[in-house]
């Protein structure tokens, strides 16, 4: 085994480097919070860099989320090394491709968020996504509506990404329980259902 492959293997076993992407106001940080809770419960270490400030006004926002069982140095993920791009918006998923590793997955919602006059033809965006060797393109908004609320679409996305994150699924479910606890059992169950539907889609389409 070459040195590069060995390094890659160590990385895959120990670390999930995730780029979360979306548009300011879409709530990508709720995904980060659920994952963070799950990782903490799993005894893992986390670093997570967020976007605050000006770009939150409808601009492109992202978060670098790093989970590992080893100490993490950099708050930012190095280029070409993210295991996963998890995007709640299709065009935004492509903006961070320079971070994706050779073995990484791109998991994205396919519903565009159009708040600029020059938003490209969605078919062209989806065509670019389909060029990638490993991707999941999911209609999270429709699935969220089916389970009860379009607001659960971020949890559909987290579910769709969950097969590619080295955290036990039950821990992610518990993370969701923790963050939605205050809103009552019905909201918890709806978000858990959203999570499971997302995961099922990814398992069928990977």
């Amino acid at each position: 085994m070459t040195k590069l492959n060995l390094e890659l293997l160590i990385k895959l076993n120990m670390k999930s480097d995730i780029i979360l992407a979306g548009v300011g106001g879409q709530g990508i940080l709720s995904i980060a919070t659920a994952l963070g809770e799950a990782a903490l419960a799993d005894g893992l270490l986390i670093k997570q860099a967020e976007t605050h400030g000006m770009s939150q006004r409808g601009g492109a926002v992202y978060s670098h989320m790093r989970i590992s069982d080893q100490p993490i140095s950099s708050d930012l993920i190095p280029g070409g090394s993210a295991d996963l791009i998890l995007s709640v918006e299709p065009m935004e998923s492509l903006r961070y491709l320079p971070y994706l590793s050779e073995t990484g997955y791109l998991v994205t919602n396919i519903t565009p968020f159009v708040n600029i006059p020059n938003y490209p033809d969605i078919e062209l965006v989806l065509a670019e996504i389909r060029k990638l060797p490993r991707f999941i393109a999911i209609d999270a908004d429709s699935i969220a509506k089916e389970v009860g609320s379009s607001r659960a679409s971020n949890m559909v996305m987290l579910g769709a990404a969950s097969p590619f994150i080295d955290i036990e699924f039950s821990k992610i479910e518990n993370g969701i329980r923790t963050i939605f606890e205050r809103k009552g059992e019905a909201v918890v169950n709806m978000n858990l259902e959203a999570l499971r539907r997302g995961r099922a889609f990814a398992e069928e389409n990977r």
Binding site: I46, H52, S74, Y119
Partner: protein, 531 residues
């Protein structure tokens, strides 16, 4: 010990509370805002009644913190880098007066200008004032430095600067908290004339400050935040400051860095560690977030010592924040560069929210300005700065807090009449009032639009210190009440707004128009909280 997942800014807030702080004084500014917000929401801050209300600007914030220090208690003042320009007079002179209770200035720099108009490096201010600077490389250090910084300030008898950058401010990591310290009791300064900077006393105080430099250096050399890390390959020695240390170590996990490294998180620069590195290594590489401050001083004017690489010789970019990739490149490491961004991806710049009152104000202003030549609207710092972008393109300046009014006055003085200032309510309270006074005193032909959304919105909807006071401030400063108008910026009032703008643009004197409607973000979060 329980581990908390804290943003760097939250770690500082928690550290300050645990360090026995009695008051935080701040004006919101990305990336520093959440330090104060975290303290405002903290149960122990409430229990101890720690001061935690927003100040009108960074200068009033820092001065008030200095007053609390005078009275013997521990205080922190927080601001973004450009806020320190506003507070600089107070800060630099506080190094002269010295402190009684521990005083920390936390300043958050924004290299790459994610939410700022420049990327100035606050360490220059710390060096300029000749005080110790702390620069954490991890959230844990940020916590520890905030908690222990008060004691350092009391030991050195000067304010201590805690300098962070955007990525430290807004990145989360596990932090273990230490024992909560008691607050200081009220006490008067040991030297009753310490705070009187009359020249005779100031000259004595300045000598004291100069003499203290040896102590500051010794503390840096012995600091647990600075260290020399051995390395076998002495072809290169690396100086890594603050968060740059993390980007370096990303490439050498588990202590595998072959080169000797000096980690710097406390200034003045620890001479002994750096001299040793210089002695042992053939070349030096300097990694620092912000300006090449350390690099410049190590390189020297003639650059005739050990070769120094960094931002000045092109090994690293001269501007912008660092990241692991730039450092990999500087070290000559190969890495997979990921996939290219497809051409189909369009830019998505920030924009005014749908339904925002600034939008209605701009649409009406554009219509009323259509009869004049372009380039007459001077603006300021806030959400409304986005009025520079399509579809509005109304404004022609954004320089510093309050500059809209004064620049409009200067342009009017030059003959550009009418000239218009577009400023928000909080920015007006921060630095607009004195400029308005200048304009009133000279009866300048300017129209000031105070677009009042009743909050500090760009930073997340904090309370504006001018809330409910804008008309009375304008009247008090001397604006003719007949030329102060308030209107609700809604589409249904468009014609009325255009008429008002036209009338006042034509008036030869100071007029103020206040389009007032609550920020829609703040309104919706207020409604959510009421539920």
């Amino acid at each position: 010990m329980q581990k908390h997942l804290f943003l760097g800014v939250e770690a500082i807030g928690q550290g300050a509370i645990d360090g026995g702080m009695s008051g935080v004084y701040a004006y919101p500014g990305t990336p520093s805002t959440e330090i104060t917000e975290f303290i405002q929401d903290h149960p122990l801050a409430e229990e101890r009644n720690i001061h935690r209300k927003w100040s009108a600007n960074e200068k009033t914030a820092f001065e008030t913190a200095l007053g609390m220090s005078y009275a013997g208690k521990r205080a922190m003042s927080c601001m973004k880098h450009v806020g320190l320009n506003v507070a600089a007079d107070a800060f630099v002179n506080a190094a002269m007066t010295g402190v009684n209770g521990g005083l920390i200035l936390t300043v958050a720099d924004d290299p790459s200008m994610h939410s700022s108009q420049n990327e100035q490096d606050s360490r220059f201010y710390g060096k300029f004032a000749m005080v110790p600077i702390l620069e954490p490389s991890s959230q844990q250090e940020a916590y520890d430095m905030a908690r222990e910084g008060f004691a350092l300030s009391e030991l050195t008898k000067v304010p201590v600067m805690l300098r962070i950058t955007t990525r430290m401010a807004h990145s989360r990591a596990g932090v273990v908290c230490s024992e909560v310290l008691d607050e200081n009791k009220l006490s008067m300064p040991a030297d009753p004339r310490q705070f009187i900077l009359l020249p005779a006393i100031a000259r004595r105080k300045y000598k004291e400050l100069l003499q203290s430099q040896d102590l500051f250096l010794k503390l840096s050399e012995e600091s647990k935040y600075n260290r020399y890390e051995e390395g076998e390959d002495t072809s290169l020695g690396i100086v890594a400051c603050g968060i740059a240390y993390n980007y370096l170590m990303e490439h050498y996990p588990n202590g595998t860095c072959p080169f000797p490294v000096v980690k710097i998180s406390q200034y003045p620069l620890p001479e002994k560690l750096i001299k040793r590195l210089n002695h042992e290594c053939d070349e030096l590489l300097i990694l620092e977030e912000g300006a090449p401050m350390v690099e410049e001083s190590l390189k020297g004017f003639f650059a005739n010592g050990t070769p120094v690489k960094g931002r000045l010789d092109g090994t690293l970019p001269r501007d912008g924040e660092l990241n692991p990739d730039l450092i990999a490149k500087a070290l000559g490491k190969e890495f997979f560069k990921g996939y290219e961004i497809p051409e189909v991806v369009a830019n998505r710049p920030p924009a005014l929210c749908q339904g925002c009152g600034h939008q209605d104000a701009y649409v009406a202003m554009n219509e009323a300005l259509a009869d004049y030549t372009k380039g007459r609207v001077f603006s300021d710092i806030g959400c409304y700065t986005l009025g520079a972008l399509p579809p509005y393109e109304t404004i022609y300046s954004c320089v510093d807090m309050g500059a809209s009014i004064t620049m409009a006055k200067g342009a009017a003085d030059a003959g550009l009449i009418p000239a218009v200032a577009m400023i928000g309510d909080s920015t007006f309270a921060h630095s607009g009032i004195t400029g308005l006074l200048d304009a009133v005193n000279e009866k300048s032909s300017i129209t000031i639009v105070i677009s009042d959304n009743e909050s500090v919105s760009m930073t997340g909807g904090q309370d504006s210190s001018a809330l409910g006071k804008i008309e009375s401030i304008c009247i008090g400063v001397g604006v003719d009440p007949a030329h102060i108008h308030t209107i609700v910026p809604l589409r249904k009032n468009h014609e009325e707004m255009v008429r008002l703008f036209r009338e006042e643009f034509a008036y030869e004197g100071v007029s103020v128009i206040i389009p007032r409607r609550e920020c829609i973000q703040r309104a919706s979060s207020r409604k959510r909280n009421q539920k």
